[in-house]
Subunit: 140 residues, 2 copies
DNA sequence: AAATAAAAGTCAAACAAGGTCAAAGGATGA
DNA sequence: TCATCCTTTGACCTTGTTTGACTTTTATTT
């Protein structure tokens, strides 16, 4: 399968992070754009879609001379919780919309918390995501 | 009996999967449509009718540039899933006992199926077990 | 301090997929 | 023949990618 440019840049960055000591890298947007022969905003796009809090990353940057972008991989604990929080907010929204009853909402939250106890943190994120999508599907 | 276009596309995909290493293929809808000189939505139709959970397949897709459709053949472990059946029997018992509504039962089954899609088979057993215990706790 | 240069950010347009849905066409069985 | 179910098609929708013109911020030079 042919990968999109965005996919390739994403992979490249992930390899760099994996090879790094501190699970974080500092890059220059222009430099990376040159490496991939694309416009700089393409890099911004990749970072904005693939390296977000919800995908488990945190970024900082500075403009101007000697500007840079720092991308750090959040540890699993932080990342997983973000997703769970998001899922719970979604459940609450279904409650507000009267699509779920109060009891059902509480049940789901209980089930989510208890049934993921033994799932490794890394996979929890995926679970929360899948769970939310499934819930969305079902209540549509 | 003359085979319909849908049948031929189905066959074609199944051959591709059989020949693949991982029992899964990634195709482009447009490409396949061109191969069979039909409209792209014909491919969607075939996938929607022939490659479903019930027939033992699982599909994912992505839109946009370099989009694709991935079709995977579930192995017996995933398809049969005895432990999941146990959980479903438990859910049914709650239904019989009027502790859960029909809709709630269906929702839970849907959530269980969909949200464990990316959990490795090995860890699913533990998940079902935890899920059942949590459900038991909550409904007591 | 002001001007300049060197970054990164924003945003919207153009493009490139796949998804949906309903209408029309065909096959099959009573 | 008629009803029903499966198939085929196409118009329109949604999502994801790529590009570039323009803006903002920061460091450096004058």
């Amino acid at each position: 399968m042919k990968k999109s440019l965005a996919d390739r840049i994403e992979q490249y960055i992930k390899v760099l992070i994996a090879r790094s000591e501190e699970n974080q890298i500092i890059i220059q947007r222009m430099e990376l754009a040159e490496t991939f022969c694309c416009v700089p905003s393409q890099v911004t796009y990749v970072i904005g879609t693939r390296f977000t809090e919800k995908t488990g990353y945190y970024t900082e940057s500075r403009r101007g001379g000697k500007g840079y972008i720092r991308i750090s991989l959040l540890d699993d604990e932080e990342a997983g919780d973000l997703w769970r929080n998001d899922l719970f907010i979604f459940i609450d929204s279904l409650l507000d919309a009267r699509i779920l009853s109060k009891n059902e909402g509480e049940m789901l939250k209980h089930l989510v918390i208890q049934s993921t106890r033994h799932i490794p943190a890394q996979q929890k994120r995926q679970f929360y995501e899948d769970f939310q999508r499934a819930l969305d599907e079902f209540t549509k």
